[in-house]
Symmetry: C2
């Protein structure tokens, strides 16, 4: 490995001088500058970032902890974070917590030992045990998608997302509206949905709930079963369903189809998250999109602000989702 010492010796100057030209510091006599740069090129010298970190106490590294990288939603967020971090001269260390709170804690300690400049966590649950220690330890931690205690956080208003779906259904002339997913939902989609309906003097009749769990990869099958069961036991009255997320929505759509119902002719469906396949499925799925790029951008901005300006105050940045209407809800009941 070639070091500054090598360069210095070859150029007949001191290490400090090499350091100065590498970092564009001060004024170094043009002649020496050129000579040094030439040797740097020749030997393809890159300053050792580890040594730089040690002295500057800055690693230009950001730790990112997510429940699982392969989940399309998280991987899109990570991509957004990486792109934004890279623009600012940072790299990211990605950690897969597997939704396990112990591993989250473990990764935090690892990242702490690695002297990362900041950490972005997409928490698995609404708590982050042992995080306080780290906070006390002067390293900025930002939670993304979930708000926890006194941590800075970047959130998306699921309530407003739900409200937008309600408005959409109302505009399309639906009167008898349902919901598929867990009740209550932790994020508040259902609450926002119901509140907005109420403003328009509508409500979800109790028989229009299809309660179902929705987490993980099997969401679609779980919801398929729940929906099928529902259809056998109830007379379907609703003409539109809001479903807690896209994957669950696919499960529901398949159940409805297999029961002989047509989407959107008989039934409108709207999902949440606007995952990749919403635009690829048949029918294409209307869905509430989270502003992923913005989430990445804002998160990095806030974190860097904390890092560089030692901002003391807590941020809770609330971003707005937006509904993307596709075929699954494109029938106007008024007409």
């Amino acid at each position: 490995m070639t070091t500054m010492k090598d360069i210095a010796e070859k150029a007949g100057v001191s290490r400090s001088t090499v350091s100065r030209v590498i970092n564009g510091h001060d004024s170094v006599k043009e002649e020496k500058r050129k000579k040094i740069m030439k040797i740097v090129e020749e030997l393809n010298f890159k300053p050792n970032k580890v040594a730089q970190s040690l002295v500057s106490n800055k690693s230009y590294l950001i730790g990112v902890i997510a429940p699982n990288i392969s989940n399309p939603f998280y991987s899109e967020i990570i991509e957004a974070l990486e792109i934004e971090a890279n623009k600012k001269g940072y790299n990211i260390i990605v950690c897969n917590s597997g939704g396990n709170i112990e591993r989250e804690k473990n990764y935090l300690e690892i990242l702490y030992g690695r002297q990362v400049d900041g950490i972005i966590v997409i928490p698995s649950e609404y708590k982050l045990p042992h995080f306080q220690e780290l906070i006390d330890n002067d390293i900025p931690v930002l939670t993304l998608t979930k708000n926890i205690n006194n941590f800075d956080s970047v959130l998306v208003s699921h309530q407003n997302g739900g409200a937008e779906v309600a408005r959409h259904f109302i505009e399309m002339g639906h009167k008898n509206i349902g919901y598929i997913g867990p009740v209550p939902d932790k994020e508040g989609k259902l609450l926002g949905f119901k509140n907005e309906l109420k403003k328009h003097c509508l409500e979800i009749e109790s028989s229009n709930y299809i309660e179902s769990d929705f987490a993980g990869r099997s969401a679609s099958q779980v919801v398929y079963k729940a929906t099928t069961k529902y259809l056998k036991e109830h007379d379907l009255k609703a003409t539109a369903f809001f479903v807690v997320n896209d994957l669950a929505a696919f499960g529901a759509i398949h159940a409805f189809s297999d029961f002989g119902l047509k989407i959107p002719e008989d039934l409108s469906i709207v999902g949440f998250d606007n995952t990749f396949f919403a635009a690829e499925s048949r029918p294409t799925l209307s869905s509430v999109a989270q502003p992923i790029e913005e989430m990445g951008k804002v998160s990095i901005e806030i974190l860097l602000d904390k890092i560089n300006n030692k901002e003391e105050k807590y941020f809770t940045k609330l971003l707005e989702p937006y509904l993307i209407v596709r075929d699954s809800s494109r029938i106007n009941k008024k007409s």
Copy 2:
């Protein structure tokens, strides 16, 4: 930040002794050991990995460069890599090249400067300019999914994947078989497919090719158009199509459906990659799966072998894909 010095002073011992107990070295008198550990706990001391790296010349960091993290296929690979690396005590720095060869080069230099112990690249193209410099610079580089010059690589036999699809079609009694995708395809799926057909005295008639590009997010739409155009201009004779990847397969399926053809009653379809949604679409899509976990595991193993044992020889590890049969090809033409 609390350092070894703090611990040492508080315990009334030297830094070396602290270092020894932290690293489980040598024998330290039990009494001192306990005293030191107690203080370590109290102060929540974690050794500074940056300083450790500087002296040991090992960072326990692996760089991963991928075309785009948010692509489900790549994100699954990254997850597999992360999990495997973590088991071995390594963390990964994830870099998004955006399929841009300049950025790939740029990231390589950054990673080099960061003293990562090794780099895994999922290359965008079949070349890696300027990588040779790095190789010369003693840092192990492994290419994943694509084989390049003299680099170590972990590959999946697309040829064998194609062959497996051919055997499947033959078993199902298809005689008139087609292919949708680029001709020739770089990875060799088509070649393997044709060769296997030939073994069984079958071939793809020239009118059974639907040539189409397939890369990127719009693959599905591009293939939809190509397929629709094909259907208008040709009499469909094939009863089964092998499609270059899943996304393209969805595009083709939609085109066929819109044309009034039923899958699999009229036409069997098999895709490639076994992406998440193959199991979620209707009909569910038969697809050739790449052994992603194994890819992650093997890649990390080979890389660590290079790192730790300074292995000189080149590896080219070829892994086998496997066909997953789902509804889209579950009709037996013999019957």
